[in-house]
């Protein structure tokens, strides 16, 4: 796309108009039978989300006429035995910390603090859902393998010593303490607290809405930094932790080994001063019905958000329906966050609602810390895989800081990498057709509302936090062209158009997908709804975020549930429909007539639907009340992602390491697979030796990923890498030739289909290992070989 002063609109109108989606044609011949290859959107044709307390959920699960299918957030409170037709899944809910009172005179020395934390951990009276685990990275974090040596079974169970136990702060999470623990309101030594992972991420600026989350959102080191960094009191400790964190978030490492070492150093820096420590974690146990008729299946469970995830909603199906059916979801707690995609939707209910109606470019993979392409596809380029900076084209665009207007980058600018996106456009629910302005406007909004400080005319700290990566690393964007693809369904052919956009970034990750996550050119909300919200905030009608709403004593902007706001929004829409309003940033992209058409569509939409939650996701809000939000599926073929797309994420297989042995400079790992096999309407867990043709679930092949780390006696990671499958189906780790002679421990894990949840980690002691100084000598018979 080029924007020259002469006639910018004329130059881009071809591209803009070219994004019209999904044209259907019917060929004259009759060549289809009943089977159709594609169905838009996902299984249930209706989703009902109901805020329910745990007692209500228990009742509704046994409701004969309209039973609850799934309860998200916590376990129901059953008065008696758990009904047999219910099953449960577990995920990481929260981290339990002990924080030392900086005022405690007894705990000024580091050793005293460390000891107090150990004593505090020993005083825990953990219920079954709390796991004693004295390390911030848990088996529910994908980077757990790199820290496996630090959480050995030996130190997972703290033993009390004879020294007096510290006093605990009253009012903290005292329910986790044994009755013998001493609790006091003042002059306490330590505070026992529980921090939910979602709260931690919100504090870290992760939006859970239209903004892309940082690539490392689910990584243990990232969450540890957010949790523990605020407790560091010494400037040196803070500096060290910040520097390590910056190196990790800026990909300043040579290879995977150095990356893991940095993560380990960061953890050491965060916990070294013993000012706050993780002593355990709580699992979230969520229930669903497995009844033969009323049950649900095809369950994908996120390691950290459980069933409150976009992928769960995109795989779950009702057993009595091959597709379609009404899915009834209960959720706890009741919603408190406003429904706006800029700085709302950030409580549990809001997050679930956004996962239903929104459709981000990438979705978090449920059982590791990576992301799966949803509406954006990454194309390889000539520069792919080459670690060198690239020139940003002169005519690439960049939003101006504070103003948000797009201007040309101009000559002489470079970036560390370029990502080429192919985007799956589709119509929005108000029937507006996705255009270039919809893809680009979020950048303008990010720079306008995120760049300035508190005193800027337009600023919201939560937008600033959520868009920090975009603003820091975006160096240019360029809309190249629009591609057409067709899809034949039965005897009909649908044509889809996909914009191809280059994004230039100062970000250089090993993984191209990680680069792509930083600033994808995507929005699930059309520009005119974003502009409406922006105008509402500018006019003092509401505030984007909870924090700004409180600070400015305004309502938190809600596109659905506040009749007073809605009334004001409708007046604005009518005003904008008359004037053809478009924000200054879009004046070169959208003409007044096109803008009028958008506002008119929105006016019709709100008239018909009574809300303004216009998105391009797989479901649309149909009706709502305080007790139920009802969403209907988008079965229009304009929606480009279809039934079954994410089925591979349901019921992941899990590897069980059965043996490890040393053979020269190889370490050989034998593995069984534990996987679910679908039988009629049930899934049965099966364990079998892992072979290339082992199939799981509905006959999908299992793809193993194998990783190892070699850790020396000094606690440094000496090597990290992947294992190679051998003809006898074992996995082999080749000890690197650069390994110095010495004693090491090798930890290995096989992640089947990338499933890193609660992995079985094998370990083997390697004495006299390394090839340097040994003239290629292989490990001798005296090598001590451990059992997994």
């Amino acid at each position: 796309m080029s924007l020259h002063p002469a006639s910018p609109r004329a130059r881009i109108c071809g591209v803009v108009l070219g994004l019209i989606c999904a044209v259907v044609t019917v060929p004259p011949s009759a060549q289809a039978d009943h089977a159709v290859s594609y169905f838009p959107s996902f299984y249930p044709h209706e989703i009902r989300i109901e805020p329910l307390d745990p007692e209500g959920a228990a009742r509704e699960f046994v409701n004969k006429s309209d039973p609850l299918h799934v309860y998200v957030g916590t376990a129901p409170s059953f008065s008696g035995q758990i009904p047999q037709h219910l099953k449960s899944v577990e995920s990481l809910k929260s981290l339990v910390t002990v924080s030392v009172n900086p005022q405690s005179s007894r705990l000024q020395a580091r050793e005293a603090r460390c000891h107090a934390i150990e004593q505090a951990a020993a005083a825990l009276d953990a219920p079954p859902d709390v796991v004693i685990h004295p390390y911030p990275i848990t088996p529910y974090h994908a980077d757990y393998l790199g820290h496996a040596d630090r959480v050995s079974p030996a130190n997972a169970t703290p033993t009390p010593t004879g020294a007096p136990t510290p006093t605990f702060r009253a009012g903290a999470d005292a329910a986790l303490l044994s009755p013998r623990a001493r609790v006091q309101a003042t002059d306490w030594d330590v505070s026992l607290d529980e921090t939910s992972v979602s709260a931690l991420l919100i504090d870290a600026g992760v939006g859970f809405n239209d903004w892309p989350a940082p690539p490392w959102t689910k990584e243990g080191w990232f969450q540890a930094y957010q949790l523990l960094r605020p407790s560091l009191s010494q400037a040196n400790d803070q500096k060290q932790a910040d520097e390590l964190y910056d190196r990790l978030t800026h990909n300043e490492f040579r290879d995977r080994t150095e990356q893991i070492n940095l993560e380990r150093e960061l953890l050491a820096a965060l916990i070294g001063s013993c000012e706050r420590a993780v002593v355990g974690y709580r699992l979230r146990r969520e229930f669903y019905t497995d009844d033969f008729s009323d049950g649900i299946e095809n369950i994908a469970v996120d390691s950290q958000s459980g069933l409150n995830s976009a992928v769960f909603l995109r795989t779950v199906k009702l057993k009595d329906f091959l597709w379609n059916g009404t899915l009834r979801i209960g959720i706890d707690p009741r919603p408190t966050a406003a429904w706006n995609p800029i700085a709302g939707f950030n409580d549990a209910a809001g997050r679930l609602v956004w996962s239903t109606v929104g459709d981000n470019a990438f979705l978090p993979i449920p059982y590791n810390s990576r992301w799966v392409q949803n509406r954006a596809e990454i194309r390889t380029t000539d520069e792919s895989g080459i670690k060198r900076s690239v020139r940003v084209p002169d005519d690439a665009l960049m939003p101006e800081t504070m103003a948000g207007r797009f201007g040309q980058v101009g000559p002489g600018h470079g970036a560390m990498t370029k990502v080429l996106y192919r985007l799956s456009a589709s119509n929005f629910s108000d029937a507006s057709v996705m255009e270039a302005a919809d893809l680009l406007y979020p950048y303008a909004l990010a720079f306008r509302w995120g760049a300035g400080g508190q005193h800027a005319g337009a600023h919201d700290p939560e937008i600033a936090a959520a868009t920090r990566l975009i603003r820091e690393r975006l160096r240019g964007l360029k809309l190249l062209r629009v591609e057409e693809t067709s899809r034949s369904v039965a005897d009909q052919t649908f044509t889809y158009r996909s914009p191809i956009i280059e994004i230039y970034l100062d970000n250089l990750a090993f993984d191209e997908l990680e680069n792509a996550l930083v600033a994808p050119p995507w929005s699930s909300v059309p520009w005119h709804v974003l502009a409406l919200m922006e105008a509402a905030v500018e006019r003092g009608i509401a505030a984007f975020s909870r924090g700004e709403a409180e600070r400015r004593h305004l309502p938190w902007l809600d596109l659905v549930r506040d009749p007073a706001q809605l009334k004001t929004f409708r007046a604005l829409i009518k005003e904008f429909a008359q004037t053809g309003y478009r924000p200054a940033a879009l004046e070169s992209l959208v003409g007044p007539e096109a803008a009028k058409a958008r506002w008119q569509l929105l006016d019709q939409f709100v008239e018909a639907n009574g809300h303004l939650l216009v998105t391009n996701g797989p479901y649309r809000l149909k009706s709502w009340s305080p007790d139920a939000f009802v969403f209907e599926v988008v079965r229009e073929f304009t929606y480009p992602v279809g039934l079954g797309t994410f089925n591979g994420f349901a019921y992941p297989a899990r590897a069980l390491i059965t043996a490890m042995e040393r053979a020269g400079d190889l370490v050989l790992v034998s593995t069984d697979a534990e996987f679910a096999v679908k039988q009629q309407r049930d899934h049965r867990l099966v364990r079998a030796p892992l072979q290339p043709d082992t199939l799981r679930g509905t006959l999908l092949p299992i793809r193993p990923e194998s990783h190892y780390v070699v850790i020396g006696k000094d606690g440094r990671v000496a090597a990290a890498g992947s294992l190679v499958r051998q003809p006898d189906h074992r996995f082999a780790a080749s000890l690197p030739t650069t390994l110095q002679s010495g004693v090491y421990t090798l930890f290995a894990a096989i992640f089947l289909d990338g499933n890193t949840i609660n992995p079985a980690i094998g370990r083997i002691e390697l004495r006299d290992s390394g090839t340097i100084g040994k003239a290629g000598r292989a490990g001798g018979p005296k090598d001590e070989e451990g059992k997994p």
Binding site: V36, L322, D491, Q492, L643, R681, R684, L699
Partner: protein, 460 residues
């Protein structure tokens, strides 16, 4: 058109329509089925290199409800054959799978890749009739021996591959679906004159509509189509079509809505009492895996199985081949097979039998030509009855099956009523060899449609 004075009962008898618990697949086979035989020692030197088979079916998307049983049938047969040492006791089967949901163009590329790069010995599977007409010509061009499990459109042999050499198909032809449904309805409810239709608005629905009407009209004089409902692809709310059909006061409602759409439709129809207000006949209600249909499915309706196979047919385990197949399938997969399972399973045994016969004639591993010549005209025992591969069009023909839904205590899902099974010799309801194809003297939808129109009597 012939104008003979024939009554309905006589003509149905002529067609061989059999209803009731006595319905049997076919005559007792003279030979043991291939799956139960211990093959004779092969002649000549047989290589021990594996055979590579490509199985393309829906692994994702809506078609996976059919693709999964297909792959399960294929895997079961391959495991059994491999357990016996492979085909001719030497060549074990290795299967490469491909997801048919990738789309027709991608499927064509995948077939090329399988043949040219993977050097597959047999290409099989394929569910969609949108794909077989694209893959058939490519199979012919590549010389890739192909046995389609489904993709049953008449168009494949009528137009896309009128003179096949390498391509075969094991599943009954699509036109049989509507005709079978019509014959069952005419036999059960000959008084039904006012017919309402609800069909998916694409070619399968139109095919079912056309063939039901031409056949039913011949058998039930004075029928009147009182309502047509054509739900668009992707429709989730069928109430408008249900109420429209009901308001037309029909005697009979006919539908070819399938899969998840059918489930949504019947559940919505239950709320309106549709099944109490008229008889109901479906071409394909029970075509999916048996356990997929809910216990609340209405009883006593014609619940078609794509005119192909049902796991309890014939009742009373009177067809040993089916009894054995169901037992083995259940043992392996802990569920019951559908027509895709049957087709995929017997595809491999049919190939195995053809290779063994060719080996007896030629010795050694037979040339593909020799295998093809054995497949052409083969009578082969399957779980669904004897299958005949017609040499002129390489189409498999087996007796068509349908029946009436019923809940029984033995299964947690409804099955076809064991006392009301319907079976029809397929050759009596499909156009004979060399009957003019569409465009050759007529422009009717299929050769079978034209054949029925021209040759079936209008019964009195």
């Amino acid at each position: 058109m012939e104008h003979r004075n024939v009554d309905r009962r006589s003509f149905l008898n002529q067609l061989g329509v059999v209803v009731g618990s006595a319905a049997a697949a076919t005559a007792i086979p003279a030979v043991k089925p291939a799956s139960a035989q211990t093959p004779a020692a092969p002649k000549g030197r047989i290589p021990d290199t594996p055979l590579k088979f490509g199985h393309m079916t829906f692994l994702t998307g809506p078609g996976a409800v059919l693709g999964e049983p297909s792959l399960k049938g294929h895997i079961l047969a391959a495991e059994e054959i491999n357990a016996q040492g492979g085909i001719l006791g030497k060549r074990k089967i290795e299967t490469i799978t491909a997801d048919e949901a990738a789309g027709t163009d991608a499927n064509v590329k995948e077939l090329r890749r399988m043949k040219l790069s993977e050097k597959i010995d047999l290409f099989t599977g394929v569910i969609s009739s949108g794909n077989t007409p694209a893959l058939g010509p490519v199979a012919e061009e590549l010389g890739a021996l192909t046995i389609f499990v489904d993709g049953c459109t008449d168009f494949l042999w009528d137009k896309a591959v009128p003179n096949p050499k390498f391509a075969f198909r094991i599943t009954n032809i699509q036109s049989a679906d509507g005709v079978t449904c019509a014959l069952a309805a005419a036999q059960a409810w000959p008084e039904a004159k006012r017919v309402a239709h609800i069909h998916p608005d694409y070619s399968y629905g139109r095919n079912a509509f056309d063939h039901f009407n031409i056949a039913f009209g011949k058998l039930v004089p004075g029928i009147q189509v009182v309502s047509e409902g054509w739900p668009k692809l992707g429709t989730t709310d069928f109430t408008a079509h249900i109420t429209k059909a009901m308001s037309s006061n029909p005697d009979l409602i006919v539908s070819s809505v399938w899969g998840g759409d059918y489930v949504a439709m019947y559940k919505q129809a239950l709320r309106y009492g549709m099944f109490n207000s008229a008889k109901f006949a479906s071409t394909i209600a029970f075509g999916v895996a048996p356990h997929a249909i809910g216990k609340d499915h209405p009883e006593g309706v014609i619940a078609g199985v794509h005119a192909n196979y049902y796991f309890t047919f014939p009742p009373g385990n009177r067809w040993p081949a089916n009894k054995r197949f169901v037992e083995k399938y259940y043992k392996r997969w802990n569920e019951y097979p559908n027509f895709q399972s049957d087709g995929a399973y017997h595809t491999l045994y049919m190939y195995k039998t053809a290779v063994e016969k060719a080996n007896k004639l030629t010795g050694g591993w037979p040339e593909e030509e020799a295998v093809i010549s054995q497949l052409e005209g083969m009578y082969f025992e399957t779980a669904a009855g004897d299958l005949y591969i017609r040499p002129d069009n390489h189409q498999g023909y087996k007796d068509a099956v349908t029946g009436f839904s019923k809940n029984v205590p033995e299964y947690p899902f409804p099955i076809l009523d064991p006392n009301r099974m319907v079976t029809i010799p397929i050759r009596n309801i499909t156009a004979p060899p060399h009957w003019p194809k569409p465009g050759n003297g007529h422009n009717d939808p299929t050769a079978t449609y034209n054949w029925i129109k021209e040759t079936w009597p209008q019964v009195a």
